[in-house]
Amino acid sequence: MKKNAYYYLRSNSSIIKHSGADSLDLLNRLTTNELSNLNQLNPIRTLLTNNKGRIVDSFLILMRNDNDLYLLSDSNDLSIVINEIEKYTIIEDSMLSDISKNISRIILYGKDIKSSLQKELNLVNENYNICDINGYQITVIKDISKKVDWYEIILDKKNISDFLETLNSFDFIISTEKNFSSYCVKNMIPSYHREFGLHTNPIEAGLINLVNFEKGCYVGQEVIARLLNYKKTKRSLVLLKSNNHVMIGDKINHNSLTVGEITSVDNDDNNALALVKILYSKKGTKLKINDLDVIVTKSSE
């Protein structure tokens, strides 16, 4: 029986190298999560928001050594992220560079992924491991911010063919973009440009777990705190179930009122993610897409 262990090779690895003595301190002052606990064995995901509290990017930060961080970004356009951080770099010792073309990035997921990786790669640490495979090194990172077992592997691009063969020899299943997207939909994992981005704040995008409300100021903090404390968020991320296919961009209605829009679909099981007005985002709410009935099965609210 095949393992429930999948790998998805990102077409753009989207990795930024952030160097300099002030790089970590700068990111801690700019982004939503508390980064003072970041160390080599403890990578942390955080959000860069703008002064309107909208999400510029979500990235997982790895400490490679005392002066070098890797930012594993969700965005495919790193220039936006780099420009946003550079905008706030005044006196800091900080340098950003896009190193995506030299590094491959693979996402691993599935019910058996944790046990399979532990068995095949002999992982010693919980969240960060460097492993030797056929004479080269790979870095295995567990992204604990996801609500499921989710690992990322980065390695030198020149070794990718060999490593993919190795994953096949472990009986891991290759995931297409469609499979990967379906998995994200089922597990309510928001994707960049769809469920989150400059059109959303962390609360409505279901990414509130990446915001530390005790850390003090970061860019957009006042807006996000106000949205949360005064319950001013207008939309919420929901998982919808229907009995037929829906499409990204479909408008969701309640009576004759448009209350939301489909952002991602899993047409294998007729699930979809959508951003819906708070009033209609409760679990069990019945809504319509044209003549098709849909029901809210989960809400991030």
């Binding site: 700019l30 951080i85 006196i91 100021c217 957009g220 903090q221």
Partner: protein, 119 residues
Amino acid sequence: MTNLDQQSVPINTIRITESAANKINEFAKRDGKKKFGLRVAVKGGGCSGLQYVLEIVDSADDSDKIIDQNGIQVFIPKKAFVFLAGTVLDYSDGLNGKGFEFQNPNAKSTCGCGTSFAA
């Protein structure tokens, strides 16, 4: 609080009010510093994106712009000066006082607590 007319500060300098200078001297004396300067800078961070930095230091860095104000030597990194030109640093004491306060003509908006700004 000393009320200084913002427009009276030339854009090639910053102004330290007498009350701010007195407080800085008090802090330096408490720290046992006889020769010191006030480093005023801007760094990334805070709700609005740019935060003020105030620090009593022994000497200036090579790239600092040095300004004398009310008996205080002010050291400003050249990269930060663009964001600080024409600024007044004031100090207000007492129950309703705000402590050190920047009146910065370059600030398009300021966060609620006044420690960060957008330019």
